[in-house]
């Protein structure tokens, strides 16, 4: 049978030179702009830095989640692409670095770090056992340590398998992934609360962690999808991958687009319905001035376009459509984070200028660079995985 491969056809190649080149250029330009931004407008830069930090966290943690959930679920279709997600999870290494400027500017970002304000505010002072600087530092350091430890163990085992072909490593990773899941659920929830929800310390939404999670998985998935299609077109993955192999990526993107909309709407509808002033002000802030258009745009960008773009079955397998939609969804996630963070900084109207562009350029640049770094040292395909051949032969 010509469509089935019984042996592996993989030759390790470096990524195209342009990949690294673009990464380098974007990083350097971004870094220069970011440094200039911190000199010209530190407060705005701090807020942008937070968006940047959340974007890196989303992609790293989302990719990490995909690796873990695919191990737990025993997914076969994803084995040819799993290494891509593992490489993207390496972005987590950058998260502590991206977080440093945020910590240096805590007072500009977070209202509740001013002890005099907290002392005068009954609500904030009763929240202060949780919302205080030292506890936040400890928490976040702990979260990052957890992410990095699990990243190290899981991807380390996967890498070892390339040489040893040891099936026990898969079994081991399944167990470790299962242990990772509750940690993941808790850390991502509290990271979202600490970094973003506490920008408005009076406001609360119990679904906030899930909301950020839905965006995170989308971002991770979209990055994996784009790179999977791109690398396969460049012939850097194993031979024999067809559009059937992409199907689950497209289906998951579609599913999580709906999941995001479901969560976002649930949060909105409950607050709209209850109509309590202590909750509604958060949405009102996103409805004032021309933020209104950004809010309405979020609906279109984050839901309507990806929904119809990925609705039909062929579109979930079409490489061209997937490449476009995954970049679109990455943009939508950035848009979402911007919408979550920036109204605290600029209340009257949304802002976009060279500062924002600089941080975006840096984010894309460093992600490309770290991916290139990993790809230049390791196999882009998990060639030791016992499920790989079945994964390549996966047909709908």
């Amino acid at each position: 049978m010509n469509s089935t491969h019984h042996s592996l056809d993989y030759i390790r190649k470096d990524l195209p030179v342009n990949f690294k080149k673009i990464g380098l250029i974007l990083s350097v330009v971004g870094l220069i702009l970011v440094i200039a931004a911190y000199y010209s407008d530190p407060v705005r830069s701090a807020f942008n830095n937070l968006v940047f930090l959340m974007l890196l966290t989303s992609i790293g943690l989302g990719a990490m989640f995909l690796v873990a959930i695919e191990y737990i679920g025993g997914a076969v279709w994803s084995t040819p692409f799993r290494r891509i997600a593992e490489f993207l999870a390496a972005v987590l290494i950058l998260v502590p670095i991206a977080a440093i400027p945020v910590y240096l500017n805590l007072h500009d970002l977070y209202h509740w770090t001013h002890t005099d304000v907290v002392a005068a505010d009954k609500i904030l002072s009763s929240k202060s056992p949780y919302l205080n600087e030292s506890f936040m530092l400890i928490r976040i350091a702990l979260f990052m340590a957890i992410w990095l430890i699990f990243y190290k163990i899981i991807t380390g085992n996967s890498k070892k398998q390339d040489e040893s072909k040891d099936q026990n490593l898969t079994t081991k990773n399944i167990k470790i992934s299962a242990i990772f899941m509750p940690f993941f659920a808790l850390t991502i929830t509290f990271a979202a609360i600490d970094w973003m929800m506490s920008l408005e310390p009076h406001w609360f939404s119990t679904i906030y962690g899930v909301y950020y999670f839905s965006g995170t998985v989308l971002a991770g998935l979209a990055a994996v999808t784009f790179l999977a299609v791109y690398l396969n077109e460049k012939g850097l993955l194993v031979k024999g991958l067809k559009s059937d192999n992409y199907y689950s990526l497209g289906a998951l993107l579609f599913a999580f687009t709906n999941f995001w909309a479901y969560i976002a709407f649930s949060q909105y509808m409950l607050i709209w319905y209850a109509n309590l002033p202590e909750e509604t002000f958060w949405y009102l802030a996103r409805w004032g001035g021309n933020w209104k258009f950004v809010t309405l745009g979020l609906l279109v960008v984050h839901f309507i376009v990806p929904y119809f773009g990925l609705l039909s079955q062929p579109s979930k397998m079409d490489p061209k459509r997937l490449k476009f939609m995954s970049l679109w969804i990455l943009f939508a996630h950035l848009y979402d984070i911007y919408w979550l963070v920036m109204p605290t900084f600029s209340k009257e109207s949304f802002v976009f200028g060279w500062i924002e562009a600089g941080f975006l350029s840096l984010a894309v640049g460093v992600i490309l660079l770290i991916f290139n770094y990993k790809a230049s040292r390791e196999n882009v395909v998990a060639i030791g995985d016992p499920k790989l051949i079945r994964g390549i032969n996966f047909r709908l």
């Binding site: 049978m1 469509s3 089935t4 059937d244 709407f265 909105y268 509808m269 709209w272 319905y273 109509n275 039909s312 079955q313 062929p314 996966f394 047909r395 709908l396």
Partner: protein
């Protein structure tokens, strides 16, 4: 009964790979009317058979969207046109509140309609049987074999050629399937005595078991979360008291605070001598208006003319502007409110003593508005 004719040639294979290979070669060989039967769905079969994408998705889309639209239209008609009502301080057309319903109806109608489309269009219900199902071939492929079935009506079909073709594919147990034409091209098979009988018996037996099981043998009250409480309810028996009632009479010789028993219950003339104890103040008139609008206006109308919205549905309530009522003393009106009259019930449980008197003040003000005294003009 018509004559048995060759319906199809069937062959069996041992492994999924073989059947996919066979399906690919059969479609490459130009066969159109053939089917593959496997114990479970095989990945890659669609491509091997070169099947066009299923159209069932369009049914789901159309029915799903019509579900959305009809849910929206229904709620719009109810909430905006037929029974516009302010609920929770929201606009008449609160779209966010409708979205969950629209979503649920979309999913429900898409799912149900897709199943029915599949049943009626794809599976050709009510034709629910096919002689192929009763063959040894079907027994094998629903157990551990993978089968292919090439229909005789296919243009490329040729008894000997196709037989050879199947042999070359490596099929085993190649069988000629002979059926009478009316055994598969029917729709009334659903009315088959055996089938309909078993269906009826199953339905009756299931209903009986459920009915007897859940109502007689094992009665479970649905949703009794807050209904059963450890407290005494009015109108219910009680083992706590010797007389077996849960309701108690007030202690002899006592009355509720702020309440005085009404002494003229059977003596309207005596009641006429009662005098309104309330002074005519703005506050008392306001109280009277509030109570009047709530309790009196549904029948007597907001202006006391007996022209309320209930007019025509009951014996018409009288106007409060008649000479008779105008000439009544406050006490006489008090008696009517306290004891009721004709179809009007007593309002003692709704209006306290002072509230009754305040209402009377307001009734007097209404009367004066139509029949002013000369002194009012000064």
């Amino acid at each position: 009964m018509s004559e048995k004719v060759l319906y199809a040639l069937t062959g069996l294979f041992e492994t999924p790979d073989q059947i996919i290979d066979a399906a690919e070669k059969t479609s490459d060989g130009g066969y159109k009317k053939y089917d593959v039967n496997t114990p479970y769905p095989l990945h890659g079969m669609n491509q091997a058979m070169k099947l066009p994408p299923s159209k069932l998705g369009y049914a789901a889309l159309v029915f799903g969207l019509s579900g959305t639209v009809s849910a929206l239209a229904l709620m719009y008609w109810m909430a905006v046109i037929d029974y516009a009502h302010v609920i929770g301080g929201k606009p008449y057309f609160p779209l966010p509140a409708f979205v969950p319903v629209m979503f649920e109806v979309t999913v429900l109608s898409a799912a149900i309609a897709t199943v029915f489309t599949m049943l009626f269009v794809v599976f050709k219900f009510p034709n629910n049987s096919h002689p192929l199902h009763d063959t040894g071939y079907m027994k094998s492929v629903s157990r551990d074999k993978y089968g292919i079935c090439i229909l005789a009506e296919d243009e490329k079909f040729d008894e000997n050629g196709t037989l050879k073709f199947l042999e070359e594919l490596g099929a085993t147990n190649i069988t000629h399937q002979y059926f009478t034409e009316d055994s598969y091209a029917t729709w009334w098979s659903v009315l088959d005595k055996k089938f309909a009988g078993i269906l009826a018996v199953t339905a009756i037996a299931t209903s009986l078991v459920v009915y007897i099981g859940l109502n007689k043998v094992l009665y479970m009250q649905p949703f009794s979360w807050m209904m059963e409480q450890e407290k005494l309810n009015p109108q219910k028996g009680s083992v706590l008291f010797a007389d077996g009632f849960s309701m108690r009479n007030p202690v002899q010789g006592t009355i509720a605070r702020g309440d005085l028993p009404y002494e003229y219950a059977v003596d309207p003339e005596g009641a006429s001598k009662l005098v309104n104890p309330l002074p005519i103040t703005e506050a008392n008139l306001q109280l009277g208006k509030v109570k009047y609008d709530i309790y009196c206006s549904p029948c007597h109308g907001f202006l006391g003319e007996g022209d309320s919205r209930l007019r025509g549905q009951f014996p018409n309530p009288p106007s409060l502007h008649s000479e008779k009522v105008r000439d009544w003393t406050d006490g006489r009106i008090y008696h009517v409110i306290a004891m009721g009259q004709n179809v009007m019930p007593s309002y003692s449980s709704q209006l306290s003593r002072n509230e009754k008197w305040a209402t009377i003040l307001y009734v007097r003000a209404l009367q004066r508005s139509l029949n002013a005294k000369e002194s009012d003009l000064q």
